[in-house]
Structures are given as C-alpha cells and as structure tokens.
C-alpha cells in the first residue's frame, strides 16, 4: 500500500504564501491552510497538523486546538462523498430528520461514521442556510435542496 506523504506541493505552497499575504499576522492563515489540507486529504491527521504548525510558525497544540474546534475539519478520513443532512428545525418540519435516518439505515453508519469501503460518510448537520429549500443536504460542497424523500435511495445509488 502506498503511504501518503502529508505535505503540500510547490504549487500549493505558493497558495499558502498568498493566504499569508492577506493578513497582518501569519496565524490568520491557519484556517485557510487547514482548509487546503482538509480538501486535499479529506482529513487532517497529526503529521499534517505538525507540518502546518511548522509552516505557519505555530505550536502543534494551537493547530490541534483549531482542528478540534471546527466541525468541518476532521482528523479521521471522510468518505469520498461526505453527506451532511440538515436536521435543524426548518428541515425537520419538512422531514429532514427522516431523511437522515433513512440514509443512516441504508448505509448502516451513524453520525460522523464512514462506510467500510470509504465511499460515504454521514453527518447530522445543523442549519446550513438553505432553509427555504428544506429538506436539504450537502454532498461534499454541493447543496441539494428540496430533497424528495422517495428519491433518496436513487440519489445515493447514483453516487456509488
């Protein structure tokens, strides 16, 4: 099995520099750079946190503290398709919680778990600012609004 090297390429390092230049203090680049890592590896493991700490002259504990504070950063790999199903009030009123349960049963995973083949991960999400399109979920970055509860199976199967 090939081992992943947790670092950025030359190209990506240029992007890091661009982020650093946006703020009067290097520390402010922490979240944008963590985003780069999360998108690239689908998670931010310890070696990557250490690498970023080094890159931005921060302590490892600071980076770790930030990663654990924000729900969109994950220390465990997320699925190829990360499903965030909103179950907050407006979505719940339109059966968002049922959709979450259906997907959970179908994929046989619970909140913040990943399917054994690594294809799907599931998150019971808070309001994502798409309440007029309730019920909704995000598949990776894309919002899917006005979900039809009878078509959830199809939607999930179409991703596989």
């Amino acid at each position: 099995m090939e081992t992943t090297e947790f670092k950025f390429t030359e190209e990506e390092l240029k992007e890091v520099e661009k982020y650093i230049s946006k703020y009067p203090d290097k520390k402010a680049a922490v979240i944008p750079v963590l985003w780069m890592a999360q998108r690239k590896f689908r998670h931010i493991p310890k070696p990557m946190m250490e690498y970023i700490a080094n890159l931005l002259d921060q302590s490892y504990s600071h980076i770790y503290g930030v990663v654990t504070f924000y729900t969109m950063f994950s220390q465990k790999p997320r699925g190829k398709y990360h499903l965030q199903v909103c179950t907050n009030v407006s979505c719940m009123l339109r059966e968002g919680d049922k959709i979450y349960q259906m997907i959970s049963n179908k994929l046989d995973i619970k909140n913040n778990e990943v399917t054994s083949d690594g294809v799907f991960s599931l998150e019971e999400a808070e309001c994502m600012g798409a309440c007029s399109g309730a019920p909704m979920m995000a598949i990776n970055e894309d919002f899917h609004e006005n979900l039809d509860i009878t078509k959830i199976d199809q939607l999930i199967d179409s991703l596989k």
Binding site: W35, F69, M72, F73, V89
Partner: protein, 442 residues
C-alpha cells in the same frame, strides 16, 4: 414618493452579479460620491437614515461607526459578518449570489467613513460556492480598480483600502462578533469579554467594526435614495427594507425583500401563499431560532423590532419559521436545545452545562419519562443561564427554550407525568454532578 416595497438589495436585474451590469445600473456611483465626502458627513447620512443592524441585535449602524476612534495612527478594520448560521436565516447568501458588488460598494463607503485599511468578509465554511462567488466579485472589483492601489486613479483621492474573503469552518458561534474576530485571527472561535469593545480593541488589537452583510449592502442604497427617503420606508423606529427569509410550513418559502412593519399574517398568507393543506398555524419563530416563539393568535404583529419587542420577542435576522397545527413543539424545542448545546463554545459554565441540561431534560420529557417538575426545571435553568454568560449564545438558548415552555405550557403538560414533586430546582443546582440521578430518583 417612492414605490411601495422597493427592491433595493435584490432587484430583478439579470446578471447583476457581473461588474459591467452592476455599473450600467448605477453601480459604484455612490462610492464615488462618498470618496469626495468628509468622514463625518458620511456617518451623518447613515445616522440620519436610522439604519439598524441586520445581524440580529438591531444596533444603529451610524452610531456604531461613530465609535471608531479618529485621528490615531493605527490601522482600522471592518469585519463583514457573513457567518449566517442562525437556524432559519438564509438571506446574506442571496447578496453573495445576486448582488455581491453592492456589498463591495457598501464596504468602500464604510471604508471612507472609518478610514479602513482593510475589510474582511467572513463567510461560513458551508457556503463554499458563495465563498467562490464572492471571491470572483472581489477579483473583478480589483481588476476594475475599485480596491487596492488602483483606487487612487479610479477615484482621484488619496484613500486606499483592501478587501478579502475569508472562509469559516463550521461553528455557529463564529457569528458572534468577538468570536468572529478570534476566528479570523486564526484561533478557536471563543467570544471575548466586552469591554474592551471592538471599536477600541478589535482585530489584531486594532479598532474594528463588525457589521452584517445586509447592513453593509444597504449603505449604497441609502446614499442613492437619500437618508430621508430611506428612513420613511417601513416602520418608523426600524425603517427600510428587510430580507425576510421564510421557511417551514408555508407554500412559498423563500427570501422576500419587503419594507419593515408588514404584518406577520400577510407575510405568511399573502406573500408566502399560506400553509400547505390549508392547515392552521400553531407557532411562528419570527427571527431565527434564538428569538422567542409566537403563537397563532399573535401573528397580527408588525414585523419590525419595536413592535415585536412589545410582545416579548425580536426581529433577529428576519428568519421566519412557520409551524402548522400538527407540529410536535416538544420535538422542535428539543432540536433547538440540541443545537445550542452542540454549538456552545464551552467557556462559561452556565451556558455549557445549562444547555446540556436543557437538552437532557427535554429528551427525558420527549421519551415520556418527564414530570411536570421538569418543566419548572427547564425554566429555572433558562433563568440561570440568561445574563450570566460572556456572549449572547447562552441568552439565545434560554430565550428560545423558555419561550416554548412558557407559551405552550399546556402542550408540554400533556407530555409529562402529572405527578408534581416539589423539589426546589436549586437543590439540583447545588449537587450539579448528580442532578440527573436526583431527578430520576424523584
């Protein structure tokens, strides 16, 4: 006379997000005007318009800007709050998508008024697409010379500022202004004690103003139509147009730009086409999940801060959540409590523990194991959170839960065992660690 309900922020103009189209429709003209004005002149116009912040607290914007110190040699910053994580709010997203240059024009005017070095537009992490759209608009604006070095040439003044888009990473609390600043600085989003207020010690220790996206986007329109005309729109104490976001049980959910002061009834029945299946209303949250809920007989209220305040709630973010007669309000309250428990940053004990208690107690009632004493416990916990925390998240949780329990007490009574056990809730408080067992035992 202006037409009724003018579409100031979201006019129906195709491709308005493109800078050429925006310019053709008079875009950036107000910024040009402002560049030739004195700082105090600009702030006076904003004050005269009576614009109140759209982020939830309704603070007068002109007054807020006037707190920024004058004549000191420090960089000043503006943080534009696009965290938009209040459940039931989805309006700022429309501005990023359909009228991003209006926001940028507002930033320029704010920039001149407060002598800003830079503005940071903080957009929640979930809005990945809208982050990109906003960034694209910023790139266009730089290209056209509205920001950065080219500004001097474009506007023929000495003033120069920058604007950046910054993405959050999933934390409701980062919408709170001081938490937002900590998050922008690259840390955990812990709210800060006030004082010092951001206008004295803000981003990187410098004077900072935090304003909501909609607030800033409104500024150029005030300059365009004049502060008097603006202040005569809608309700007197809280004038202008508002982006109402209506969701839940209505036939036509969506974002509607209307004057303040429209009755909640016409918003629901006329604008949003009523309730699916012709059902009756059970409850309505008027301004995002933090604001106390209203019952069906209260919907003749006018939707502006002053009118809502009179009946014990607030306009908040203008996020209206409608619940029909078949809604299980206990389930809704439980979901709301879960939200605040999940999102509490954990710095203050009353909020961290209290929100946990609210959720646990509601869960117990929901599972059929509650007694009517639990309802008193809920109210007591709310009372103990409110006013005892660093930021207003604790208050929000307390307002929301207490609002439901008090207003719909009879509904909740039906779900608990009638047995009433008289045990002062503060006994439970004293034995915090065993509170759960205490209640179960009784």
């Amino acid at each position: 006379m202006m037409e009724k309900n003018p579409k100031l922020l979201l006019p129906e103009i195709k491709d308005l997000h493109k800078i050429e189209v925006f310019e053709q429709n008079g875009g950036y003209q107000q910024a040009r005007k402002a560049m030739k004005m004195e700082k105090s002149e600009i702030i006076d116009i904003v004050k005269k318009s009576n614009l109140r912040g759209r982020g939830g607290a309704c603070f007068p914007t002109g007054l807020k800007w006037s707190f920024m110190p004058d004549g000191i040699d420090k960089p000043n910053y503006l943080a534009v709050n696009g965290d938009e994580a209040e459940p039931g709010s989805f309006k700022d997203r429309r501005i990023f998508e359909f009228n991003p240059h209006l926001l940028l024009e507002g930033i320029l005017i704010a920039g001149k008024a407060m002598n800003l070095k830079a503005a940071y537009i903080y957009i929640r992490g979930e809005y990945y697409l809208w982050n990109k759209l906003m960034q694209a608009a910023v790139d266009e604006a730089y290209e056209f010379g509205y920001f950065g070095e080219k500004m001097k040439e474009k506007f023929g003044t000495d003033f120069q500022m920058d604007v950046y888009v910054h993405s959050g990473a999933g934390a409701y609390i980062c919408g709170e202004e001081t938490s937002l600043m900590n998050s922008l600085e690259g840390g955990r989003g812990y709210p800060r004690y006030k004082p010092p207020f951001p206008a004295q010690v803000g981003l990187w220790g410098m004077p900072t103003t935090v304003n909501n996206v909609e607030t800033i986007a409104t500024i150029p329109k005030i300059f365009e139509i004049g502060p008097e005309a603006y202040s005569s729109l809608g309700a007197q104490g809280h004038p202008g147009t508002l982006l109402y976001g209506v969701s839940g049980h209505v036939n036509k959910p969506g974002v509607y730009e209307l004057e303040t002061g429209i009755t909640l009834r016409s918003l629901i029945y006329v604008v949003c086409g009523g309730i699916p299946g012709g059902k009756n209303i059970k409850a309505v949250i008027p301004g995002g999940s933090s604001m106390p809920v209203l019952s069906a007989d209260e919907i003749d209220v006018a939707m502006d801060e002053e009118s809502l305040k009179k009946i014990g709630t607030h306009i908040g973010t203008g996020g209206v959540m409608v619940m029909d007669e078949d809604t299980d309000l206990l389930k809704v309250t439980l979901r709301i409590a879960h939200f605040y428990h999940h999102e509490s940053c954990g710095q203050c004990t009353p909020c961290r523990e209290g929100c946990g208690w609210l959720e646990k107690t509601l869960k117990r009632i929901y599972n059929g194991d509650g007694t009517s004493k639990d309802l008193d416990l809920l109210v007591s916990v709310c009372n103990n959170i409110e006013g005892n925390t660093i930021c207003a998240l604790g208050d929000a949780a307390a307002w929301a839960v207490r609002g439901f329990v008090n207003k719909f007490r009879s509904d909740f009574e039906k779900r608990v065992k009638a047995k009433r056990i008289f045990q002062a809730p503060n006994i439970a408080h004293a034995k915090r660690a065993t509170a759960d067992t205490l209640i179960y035992e009784s």
